[in-house]
Amino acid sequence: MIKASRDIFLLLIRSTPAFFISCASLTLENVNFGWPVESALTVSEKNTIDDVRYGLTCNVASLAVEEFQDTSALKGKILRVLRNPQGYYFVTGAGFNYVYVFGPGEGTLSLHKSISMGNTEKDEPVRLADPALNQRPPNVELLDGKLRHLLSPDGIIENEDGGSK
């Protein structure tokens, strides 16, 4: 009796790892989502942007409200979009105070962080004039005239002077 119980116990012990492996979701590692170059996308009359090369389409009305408090503020304007290696979308444009970082969801892009370009300590808002996003793995570089920031999904890593924030 004791021997039979011990056998059952050993069988359960041995089959446990296989049970847990089969229940776990399949994961592929070392994925690089980064686009080699940013996309400059014009906002349509329907408030949408469409990137044919990377297959990205979305409505930006809520972004217009967030940045300009006006749903139609972005119509006809150009948005700069760049996806970093981790899969976050960096979005900004001329006249923006922020670089918006979105994470992908099911049929959505959810705001992960809005990175202010102004000096938050001195409360000096800075509007971007003609920004550009460059892929600088693992980070993203923001350029606007003389302004240069190295960005991560969580904020500014390095400013134009080489200092960190």
Binding site: P36, N134, L143
Partner: protein, 425 residues
């Protein structure tokens, strides 16, 4: 100058491209397109040499962004783009060399064409003058005929020369016109315009129409005249097809022009028309088709009319005919009626068919598009049989007559020479 602008553009974009990746990509693409367009439009080796430098400069300036451009220019790479540009440069160099070498041939043809045109103008004046003289009976017919022959030869020479000229224009592209580039096709259009080809074709066809109007063509000349007309028409159709191909490619359709709009390339026509190089349209071809049709119609009318006169001048009446089929029917009808009606066919068979038709009209009649060899042979056989039949009947008649005369003579002489019979007591 364009190259300087291009280099300046490269410098300017480079300054910005050091910062923005997108600008690096777009400025590279813009510079690439600009160089490619200039290569495609290049017409001289000097331009191409300069563009070779531009390609080298482009490659050198963007070399530091090679890794980035390899990804950004997907599915092509930076290296593939530069190689593509160099390949285009190589092809264009080959094409420019061909066009330049053909250009020399064209200028030679042009000079010869101009000389012949001048001679033709002079001969045309002679022709008018001779025709007037003939009407006044001042010159002999033989002399006029000699002049006409010269004029005819001159027309043929001009015809040959013109198509040699067009062949030389198309020569570099003849293998496959559909695979030539837009710029190459535009170069052909420019050369066709410069050479005034359509107007020249029109003039040659028109001169031939005039020639038929003022000339009494000899029966033996028709064969070569038909041959010339058919060859000219066939060459024109070939040229027209090629011209349509290049016109379609260069978006310059050869639209129909209003009546009378065709400009003559006659006196002074060998010079290119003003603005021909800038105008990307070819002359209308509808008028050329019309005048070639008129030439063919007049030639055929003159031929059948002349043939009919051979019969009517000797008072042999055939049913009217205007083509090979109706001519054959008329002759067969005449032969049948001669057989059944016992008509004297000596003039028809010997004077007309054997002496005139067979000797002088046969080469033209044997052309497939006129009557054809087989049909002519059938007619000839039917007429020969008619002749044999009549000959047999006459022969029998002669034998009978001779026999009657012989018998009569024999009876006469035997009656006279017979000695009187002596009655014995």
């Amino acid at each position: 100058m364009k190259h300087l602008t291009l280099i300046a553009l490269l410098n300017w974009t480079l300054a910005f491209s050091q910062q923005s990746d997108l600008e690096t990509k777009t400025s590279f693409e813009a510079a690439y397109r600009s160089i490619a367009t200039e290569i495609d439009a290049a017409t001289s080796q000097e331009q191409l040499d300069s563009l070779q430098g531009s390609i080298d400069a482009l490659e050198a300036r963007y070399a530091e962004h090679r890794a980035f451009l390899d990804r950004a220019l997907h599915p092509e790479t930076f290296t593939e783009k530069i190689e593509k540009l160099r390949a285009l440069h190589g092809l264009t160099s080959e094409r420019v060399y061909l066009i330049q070498s053909q250009g020399i041939t064209i200028s030679e043809y042009e000079a010869r064409l101009a000389s012949l045109t001048q001679r033709l103008d002079s001969l045309t004046s002679d022709r008018d003058w001779l025709f007037a003289e003939l009407r006044e009976s001042k010159k002999s017919l033989a002399d006029l005929r000699q002049k006409m022959r010269t004029l005819s030869k001159s027309l043929e020479a001009r015809d040959r020369l013109l198509f040699a000229l067009t062949d030389s224009i198309f020569l570099p592209y003849d293998k496959n016109l559909t695979q030539t580039t837009e710029i190459q096709k535009e170069a052909v259009v420019r050369k066709l315009l410069k050479s005034n080809v359509v107007a020249r074709v029109y003039d040659i066809a028109s001169d031939n129409v005039k020639f038929l109007e003022v000339t009494q063509v000899q029966p033996s000349d028709y064969a070569s005249m038909f041959e010339q007309q058919q060859q000219f028409k066939s060459k024109w159709m070939g040229l027209r097809e090629k011209m349509n191909a290049v016109a379609l490619a260069s978006s310059s359709p050869m639209e129909e022009a209003p009546s009378g709009s065709m400009k003559s390339a006659g006196k002074g026509g060998s010079k290119p028309r003003k603005g021909a190089d800038s105008a990307a349209t070819l002359e209308p071809v509808g008028h050329v088709d019309a005048v070639i049709d008129e030439w063919e119609k007049k030639l055929r009318t003159s031929f059948w009319k002349g043939l009919e006169q051979e019969f009517s001048s000797k008072h042999v009446s055939l049913q009217p005919f205007q083509d090979g089929q109706s001519f054959a029917m008329s002759v067969f009808e005449y032969v049948d009626s001669a057989k059944t009606g016992g008509r004297d066919v000596f003039v028809f068979v010997n004077d007309i068919w054997k002496d005139r038709i067979d000797k002088h009209w046969r080469p033209a009649l044997e052309k497939d598009f006129i009557l054809g060899k087989q049909n002519f042979a059938t007619l000839d056989k039917a007429i020969s049989e008619l002749d044999e039949k009549k000959f047999d009947m006459k022969f029998i008649l002669y034998i009978l007559a001779a026999a009657v005369i012989g018998l009569g003579g024999w009876w006469f002489f035997t009656q006279r020479k017979r000695p009187p019979k002596i009655q014995q007591a």
